[in-house]
């Protein structure tokens, strides 16, 4: 298939998955805020940590020691300047899909397009404030429906494998990121609402019910981490996602005659990371430090994405931006006839 098509589908898939993650995270945080009520404590602002470490936060919110929840919410959900806001994710997914409409099913395109058009409404922010739960749910379900259509209306060929690769890499990255953002909730607080917080972490990854089935009601921080990171059969876990990504990459590579450098590097790196998670033990992870561990995973995922891009999607090195760069050729300086 054409590199451009593979790349656009890869990113469509990533943005859709990201939209799901952002909507879930927002919904959970909103619930937490409601539950906490008026209690004031240093963990009372649930929104600010979602901006991530100081160097990742947007400049205009950085200077502000305590950005208000409204500002943070706006940034995470509606801000067009934030390439990872919920609205931006849907817009970019649709934009990438539009260029390759003929490679996806018409149902996929129509559904994604409709979802996007519903977000173009100028009263959107007001509507979302009126009924946040309804809003988040609608977007999340819209994105999930798109994923369902992808699986059921595309032949499971190279095209479908690229969408899978994108989805699972994104998911692994998101779960690692959410876990790292929400890790502070796993610390024991003084208000006896630990359970609520720990469950919130699970809910942020859509995993609360599955966890309960696995571990019954013993909710403990270490078990939460284990579940989200290392569970082999739950589709939201990092380990599962990386394994599925690895399968997709193998299926793509299997039909290749020649293996070239970056393609091989992508396979090896993904294979190794996947294996690493298969053999990890949560106690060791927690001992060595959860944050560094999560950071390392995320860095490796970024590298794998880079190798995939270089190996299959385009030739030249690509800046680590999420927006597709213009693929224009440069015009050589022409010789002026000067004599």
């Amino acid at each position: 298939m054409l590199c451009r098509v593979a790349e656009d589908l890869f990113w469509t898939s990533r943005y859709v998955e990201r939209a799901i993650a952002v909507s879930r995270l927002s919904e959970v945080t909103w619930h937490l805020e409601l539950d906490a009520g008026d209690v004031e404590d240093e963990h009372g602002d649930f929104w600010a940590p979602l901006l991530g470490p100081a160097d990742e936060a947007p400049t205009r919110l950085r200077g502000d020691e305590h950005p208000s929840p409204d500002e943070v919410r706006h940034y995470l959900i509606f801000d067009g300047q934030n390439p990872s806001s919920l609205v931006s994710c849907v817009r970019q997914a649709r934009s990438a899909a539009r260029g390759v409409r003929e490679s996806i099913s018409s149902e996929m395109w129509e559904h994604l397009n409709t979802l996007y058009l519903s977000l173009v409404d100028p009263d959107l922010a007001a509507q979302a404030e009126d009924n946040p739960h309804g809003f988040y749910k609608r977007i999340r379900e819209g994105a999930q429906f798109f994923q369902g259509l992808t699986d059921s209306t595309l032949a499971h060929d190279e095209v479908w494998h690229f969408t899978g690769l994108g989805k699972y890499l994104e998911r692994a990255d998101n779960v690692a990121r959410v876990l790292s953002l929400q890790a502070h909730l796993l610390l024991t607080g003084e208000h006896g609402d630990d359970l609520v917080r720990w469950l919130a972490v699970l809910r942020s990854c859509g995993s609360a019910e599955a966890y309960a089935r696995y571990y019954s009601l013993r909710v403990e921080p270490a078990r939460v981490v284990e579940f989200l990171l290392l569970n082999p059969i739950f589709p939201q876990s990092v380990r599962f996602s990386l394994g599925a990504a690895w399968e997709a990459l193998r299926a793509i590579g299997a039909s290749q005659g020649i293996s070239h450098d970056s393609a091989t590097r992508a396979s090896r790196a993904l294979g190794m990371l996947s294996a690493q998670l298969e053999h990890a033990a949560v106690d060791e992870v927690l001992e060595d430090g959860l944050q560094p561990y999560l950071t390392s995973i995320r860095n490796q995922i970024a590298e794998i994405s880079e190798h995939v891009t270089r190996g299959y999607l385009r030739d030249e090195p690509r800046p680590g931006r999420l927006v597709a760069v213009a693929r224009a050729a440069m015009i050589m300086a022409a010789q002026q006839q000067q004599q």
Binding site: D315, E316, R327, A329, M330, I331, M332, A333, A334, Q335, Q336, Q337, Q338, Q339
Partner: protein, 302 residues
Amino acid sequence: MRVAVRHTTRLDYTAAVVEGIMDARLGPHSDADQRWESFDLRVNPSAAVRPYTDGFDNAAHLITISRAHQSIELVAESRVETLLDDPFVPSATPPRPLRPAELADYLAPSTMVPREPELEAMAAPYRPADSAAAFEAVRQLMDLIYSGFRYQRYVTTVATTVAEVLRERAGVCQDFAHVLLGLCRSIDIPARYVSGYIVHQGQSQHQSSSSQAQFQSQSQSQSSGVSHGPSAEAGASHAWIEAYTPTHGWRGFDPTNNLVASQEHIKIASGRDYGDVPPTRGTFRGVAEEHLSVDVVTRVLE
């Protein structure tokens, strides 16, 4: 006279690029007035080179380097014998009349030589009374430029328009050629742009230029004012025009040096204006800055 020419074009990039594609017009060209004896084009790093003939019957080469590279150097080595002794002598047999397409090409405005009222006004007094006077008319127009314009580098670029040159009254050979084209066409004398080399009898001339303004040649005799004689320095290749008169057929007129072209002028290609015959033009893919340098060495043989 027999001349050896080496024309080197070098592109350097600040980072590795891929998919370099160049369309080059560096020769060879033979006609009644010159015989191109040998032509050798080398490219470094090694590239695919495909010769072809373009829509104007010029010899061209499509040069491609797909893999990563950080520079391209083209070296064209040629031996040419120029045959025209006396360009002032009318041709023995009446020149073939131009076909409609040639008239359209060489009388109509072109992309880089659009219609300019100022050119028309400038040329009007020189409109020949009859066909026998056309040759002299072009000579006078050539002299008009030679005396009225200043040779000066770096005030114009590859993209400079005729209007800008008229305003500045300065430029390089490419600019003067465009102005002369405009003047000739204004008085209905078909004229075409010529890309080529100029040789200076008796000495080998080393003409080089670098787009980074860093050149060490015995500099320019750029006295403000009028340029004198064949410039001994600077410049990559040369540009002049050919005008068609019923008495002489196509003859070359070099406004930069106020010469009717003869043995010292080696023609590579011709077209409506520079845009049809740039020595090289191309594209690459990547994120890098480009530095162009050109070097032309001519040597009279025997």
